[in-house]
Amino acid sequence: MARSPAKADFFEASRKAVADHELHRKLQSASDRHLDHVDETRAEFPPFESERDTARRIKEESIAHLDELLIELRRRLEENGCSVFFAADAEQARNYIVGVAKKNGLKRAVKGKSMTTEEIGLNRALIEAGLEVTETDLGEYIVQLRGEPPSHIITPAIHLSKEDVGALFAEKLQMPYTAEPEELTAEARKRLRSAFLGADLGITGANFAIAETGTLVVVENEGNGRMSCTLPDTYVAVVGIEKVIPKLADLSHFLEILARTATGQKLTTYTNFINGPRRAGELDGPREVHVVVLDGGRSAMLADPVMREALYCIRCGACLNVCPVYRRVGGHAYGSTYPGPIGSIVSPNLFGSAAGHLPFASTLCGACRDICPVRIDIPRMLLHIRWKESEDETRAIPWPRGAARARSGVVRFARLARHPRVARMLGRIAGAFLRPFARDGFLRRMPPPFNNWTAVRDFPVPRPRVRRDTAQEADSSGRVP
């Protein structure tokens, strides 16, 4: 479902999400399980680190030659019999696909999981054009039945328990209630199998596009992507410009790290290679293949030397699972197709200022950088965006009230800190004065101007003897306590 990423309500949404203890439990257990698998599979594969470096280098080179690679990709795809359309933005992409559907008189679409089609809000456009659209990835199918967007780029229904799904299926599919994943999955299989056999349009994204061979590569575990590109007579793939890699031989380096980080598998169950319509006499594959190559703000990222790195992302989803903020609030709070650390970076670029607050939704702890299979320095980019935001007069989100005052407060504090003895003395006086008001060593509320601080966090009361770093302690006084 298309969703306007246009609400600067992260802080409001996250407040609600943090209070939702059930959500917290679900997120925590799902992401812990994921991380355990990832650790295990990585440890069993000694070349992992060098594969990461190789993949990173290939991405750097591909993105640096994006113009040439796209020209070659287009040529090779067309030679293989695909129609290629370059879309500058989401609207052009939607219009093209709706046009194809109208021209071929298509009625029933099946979709494999694709964040790029979420990004362009394709479902709504197709439904408005009179098509029936079925999400066929089990997680996507579940959230579609709930009328929700996915909350994770790999496991869309991560925020739901099996009981939630049981209740949903009982209500929407009129089946007797069960919370057994086996039975729920069997029911979905039955429904979706007939959707596949009856569909005339298949839609997926792609994980990679190989310029050398004119091939799209779609990785998945369920087989729904494979169905979508095999059974319907018309097939559309929506691919971001950054997905192109030069050669077939480059692919293994990505596949060796992608599943290991995304799900803790060595390889996903299916790696599908799509390179054009079915050939004469063949049973499998569509009669028409349309490849929509989407810019949608990506070329602007390319132009920014710091942001360019975000185009190396292979959407493994691991940075979401390690992020302390994501683990606490879940994907929906971000209000964007791409949640989590990488989402906080690409969303403002893809969706404009409406997502401008997301770069502030991070603690900059660096866990995302450490797990990222292509070593994207997400915290560095977040800082970069924050800095740009603070320089920009027409900034997307207003500074919180009192921000200017807070700023000058910090400046004053910095000046004070240059005189350790005075600072210490003031600290002691303040501590003695404040201690009676504290609970468990923290002040919950302070009078202005300090209420700016206590509005969002507690303030630790200085202890009777301020504990200082010993290194700092060997200051002018030369005294060590």
Binding site: D53, L66, I71, V84, M227, E256, E282, R308
Partner: protein
């Protein structure tokens, strides 16, 4: 394609901006650091494949001669009460050996050839009704337990997708160590001319509370065998 040229122009301009400050130093030890010695290590490859294939919940039938494999598959078909079995054309093997064994066991066998477009919907329906699909892979990857299956008119790709039970065999000489070798062996020409699927275990999902459930869309059961002819 005005949009295309505009895009390329945009990219060219974007690329003129200075490159990211510190390009990542790629490590010097190359990815292909695993030792390779195909013929000497054939046995090791076989046991590695079997282990990995079982780890992704495949059922390994063993290292068999074509005749043994045919007998094994026929008895499997009997066990599950299969009536209709789809058999794709072999890559190195003559699939007739499977067909005969199955027919003797009382199964109807579905074979494939070149189709007219008009025949396609009915052929797909028939294939979807088959109880078992049997295919020979071009290659198999030992380090991941993966089959590389290449489609052709007499060997449709959906043979390993639509029937609930899938049997894939591979010739022992086509067992390679890792993905890089498999892609190298397939090569760009074959990849751009055919439908290729890498298959690592039965269809599966973990979308409900990360619990693994098999057979969500594709086969719930995947049998694998390595064919090692007696005189081979």
């Amino acid at each position: 394609m005005a949009e295309f040229h505009k895009l390329i122009a945009r990219l060219k301009t974007a690329l003129e901006s200075p490159a990211p400050s510190e390009p990542h130093a790629a490590s010097s030890n190359s990815a292909a650091s695993m030792p390779i010695a195909p013929s000497a290590q054939r046995v090791e490859l076989v046991s590695g494949f079997a282990r990995e294939f079982e780890a992704v919940r495949g059922s390994f039938l063993g290292v068999l001669s074509p005749e043994e494999a045919a007998a094994r598959i026929a008895s499997l078909a009997r066990e599950v009460g299969a009536r209709l079995v789809a058999v794709g054309e072999g890559v190195t093997l003559d699939a007739a050996v499977f067909t005969h064994a199955l027919q003797e066991g009382g199964c109807a066998v579905e074979r494939f050839g070149k189709l007219d477009d008009g025949e396609r919907p009915a052929a797909l329906e028939r294939l979807a009704r088959c109880d078992i699909g049997i295919a020979e892979a071009h290659y198999a990857i030992a380090s991941t337990g993966t089959f590389a299956v290449v489609g052709a008119p007499a060997r449709p790709n959906s043979l390993t997708l639509l029937p609930p039970i899938s049997v894939i065999v591979v010739h022992v000489e086509r067992l390679v160590l890792d993905l890089a070798q498999a892609l190298g062996a397939l090569g760009p020409d074959l990849v751009s001319a055919h439908r290729l699927s890498l298959i690592t275990g039965p269809s599966r999902t973990a979308d409900i509370e990360k619990r693994i459930v098999l057979g969500v869309h594709g086969p719930k059961t995947l049998y694998g065998a390595i064919i090692w002819p007696r005189n081979g």
